[in-house]
């Protein structure tokens, strides 16, 4: 496939086109991903997440500058939400990344969440594969910062960095399940603001109780940064490298990779099987079942059982 060849040869526009292709996720993207797959698996994937306004884009900008000084190439995927009402999106992460312009060792791609949750996770996975295959050493994935999609994306990343900023919530917020538990590294950004030490202490208390059980023996360190002037950012990168080292030596990298691939395979399989079943049953018959459930003639489980056993001619296996 031509586009794949050109992208692997370093044509940046071909890379951009490929990303669009896999993001749309149609038939053509499958053959591209097939051709790319043997080139993937090289990059270190770092997820950056945290509440809106905690400074994710600015931190990605600063991290990338640190990496570029070490001659490490960086692919960036910046995700922002799609409006469920209009389908439109305002992708504004580039505003904070202007320092990275004009550097051929950096490739920034803004991505809208578009459709469903599972769909986003898969599209992100596939965009990562493109950037990985064409040779970026590190891929930074900046997520929306709110909700379940963060957890999905954390499953994809090797190292997940969770940002907090002072004054964005108290200890009780930090105790709530979810965001904190996906962190391999916690960062209190905007550490030059009052309350940073207190925020760090609050996180410390939560982490010490939760970490060992959930993170396979790795206790997530808590760092402080000022992304705007770069303070603490080289230290953050050192910690990411320590985490990577830990993943490798503990055998966790292989284990996580296997889990990730299992999840990906099952998700794709699930979607394909559903598509196949729906096309076998037919939209009309599906509608009829829904009507019957609405009318309380039959319950959802019985209907599911019948649908699963429907043959293409409409008869149900005896």
């Amino acid at each position: 496939m031509n586009l794949v060849r050109e992208a692997l040869d370093g044509n940046r526009y071909a890379v951009a086109r490929l990303i669009s292709l896999v993001e749309d996720g149609d038939e053509a993207s499958r053959s591209a991903l097939t051709a790319l797959y043997e080139h993937t698996g090289q990059a270190h994937l770092v997820g950056v997440t945290g509440p809106p306004g905690s400074g994710k884009s600015t931190l990605v900008n600063a991290l990338t500058q640190t990496l570029r000084r070490q001659d490490v190439t960086v692919g960036i995927i910046a995700v922002d939400p799609t409006s469920p009402f209009t389908g439109g999106a305002l992708l504004g992460d580039r505003v904070r990344m202007r320092d990275l312009a004009g550097d051929s060792g950096v490739f920034i791609r803004s991505m809208a969440t578009r459709g469903s949750l599972g769909g986003l996770a898969q599209a992100t996975n596939d965009v990562i594969k493109v950037l990985d295959a064409v040779g970026f050493d590190v891929i930074l994935i900046e997520t929306v910062g709110a909700g379940q999609s963060e957890v999905e994306i954390a499953r994809t990343a090797h190292t997940t960095v969770v940002l907090e900023a002072p004054g964005m919530g108290d200890e009780v917020q930090a105790l709530k399940a979810g965001l904190m538990e996906i962190a391999d590294i916690l960062v209190v950004n905007k550490a030059d603001r009052p309350g940073a030490a207190r925020t760090a202490r609050a996180l410390e208390m939560v982490i010490n109780r939760n970490a060992p059980a959930t993170k396979d023996g790795w206790a997530p360190p808590i760092l402080q940064t000022v992304a705007l002037d770069g303070s603490g950012v080289p230290e953050l990168w050192n910690t990411v490298e320590e985490h990577r080292e830990y993943l490798c030596t503990s055998g966790l990298l292989a284990k996580r990779e296997r889990m990730r691939i299992e999840t990906e395979l099952l998700n794709i399989l699930q979607r394909r099987l559903l598509e196949r079943l729906v096309s076998r049953v037919g939209e009309e018959r599906l509608e009829a079942w829904i009507e019957r459930i609405v009318a309380r003639e039959v319950d959802v489980y019985t209907a599911t059982q019948a649908l699963c056993e429907t043959r293409s001619n409409g008869s149900v296996k005896g």
Binding site: R17, G88, L90, R94, S110
Partner: protein, 132 residues
């Protein structure tokens, strides 16, 4: 099948008036497009690079500094050099009538002045992009 339109909105040059750019960015978002907003003080090179990486269908430039006769041709030329001939360029701002004609001859796909109706702008862009 409707393809998802992607538009880059940028402010080249040194004037700091980004209200118009933001209004347009929001209007296009509400019209169902994916808008990549790059913010203030972009050089033509930065804009072309972003258009390439983001694989956009169009670029919208907001210019209120009077430097449009320098900036717009440089963006158009940059896109051409990168092989992005298919990317349409729209300009918003205070552009005198005689300059409008010149810019259109150079390849700008549409020019909008103060008071332009945002719905008309998004409809125009959609129409222009449908012709491809």
């Amino acid at each position: 099948m409707t393809e998802q339109l992607r538009i880059l909105i940028a402010k080249p040059g040194l004037d700091g008036h980004d209200r118009g750019a933001k209004v347009i960015a929001r209007a296009l978002r509400d019209a169902g497009m994916e808008v990549i907003y790059t913010g203030l003080r972009q050089t033509p090179e930065m804009i072309v690079e972003a258009a390439l990486q983001e694989d956009v269908d169009a670029v919208g430039l907001s210019i209120l500094s009077g430097a449009h006769m320098t900036l717009v041709p440089r963006v158009l030329e940059g896109l051409r050099q990168m092989g992005l001939n298919h990317v349409k360029v729209f300009v918003g701002g205070i552009i005198p009538a005689e300059d409008q004609t010149t810019l259109e001859e150079m390849g700008a796909a549409g020019i909008f002045g103060p008071g332009a109706n945002t719905e008309a702008v998004s409809a125009f862009i959609r129409e222009q992009l449908a012709e491809r």
